[in-house]
Symmetry: C2
């Protein structure tokens, strides 16, 4: 019998929980440099995208889309970066990062460029609240889809 899913301790340490979608836990990376989310499929022993079956892959794409649209609408960012890397933390996780041409790492990818910047706790909670409303409560805005 497969082990139950638990969040990798490094992801737990680096993030605040936003909520659960049908497949993924949605997390906010505690780095105020960039609005930076991570989607973690709640499937044990899953390392690569290609470890997911086709149904889960389709669901992951749906959840990436829903979260990406919410993040872009809230942040009015210039570009989204979406990536499944996992060189340091093997548990499959997908980064969705809102990038601005004025951010600390632009145009480089964010990993390893700047040490994390602490959030003002109220700013972090406001972002989490806005994401929860957009992702879990509001209907998709059909004019932009």
């Amino acid at each position: 019998m497969p082990a139950d899913w638990t969040l990798h301790p490094q992801l737990d340490k680096d993030t605040a929980a936003v909520g659960d979608l049908p497949l993924c836990r949605v997390l906010l990376i505690k780095d105020a440099h960039y609005p930076w989310l991570v989607l973690v499929p709640r499937r044990p022993e899953t390392v690569e995208l290609i470890d997911l079956d086709e149904v889960a892959q389709a669901q992951l794409m749906t959840e990436i889309t829903r979260v990406s649209r919410a993040l872009r609408e809230i942040t009015r960012c210039d570009k989204l970066n979406v990536a499944a890397l996992g060189n340091a933390v093997p548990q499959l996780h997908v980064h969705i990062i809102a990038r601005r041409r004025t951010d600390a790492a632009w145009p480089r990818p964010v990993w390893g460029v700047m040490p994390p910047l602490s959030y003002d706790p109220r700013d972090m909670q406001e972002l989490i609240d806005a994401l929860r409303r957009k992702v879990w409560i509001e209907q998709p805005d059909l004019s932009t889809s």
Copy 2:
């Protein structure tokens, strides 16, 4: 009427063509540090994953899976990195990179770490030929799917 799709000149310059899948052009980045592919959906004016409609997103996931499996089987890599960034080249393109714990950038992401290393032309052609066989000719190996 939308413009016809053409490959972005920077992607054209940095890559060799492997072939076309129903949605994407498959390219090999000319950097012998890493077996590094790029999938470019042949859709004009497409920047973000969320610019694709649901049918194209599903097809993209199918093509990412097929190419990822082929690349992993051929290279016996330790990890796949899959990413849509596009900060420098706005045309939507998805990187699929075969990583080894002994490669020049490990465990960092590959972007910006090392200047590209020229391929021996025969090695590059062998990799392209192996990819063409796996992706376009062989049936998927059901024992690993």
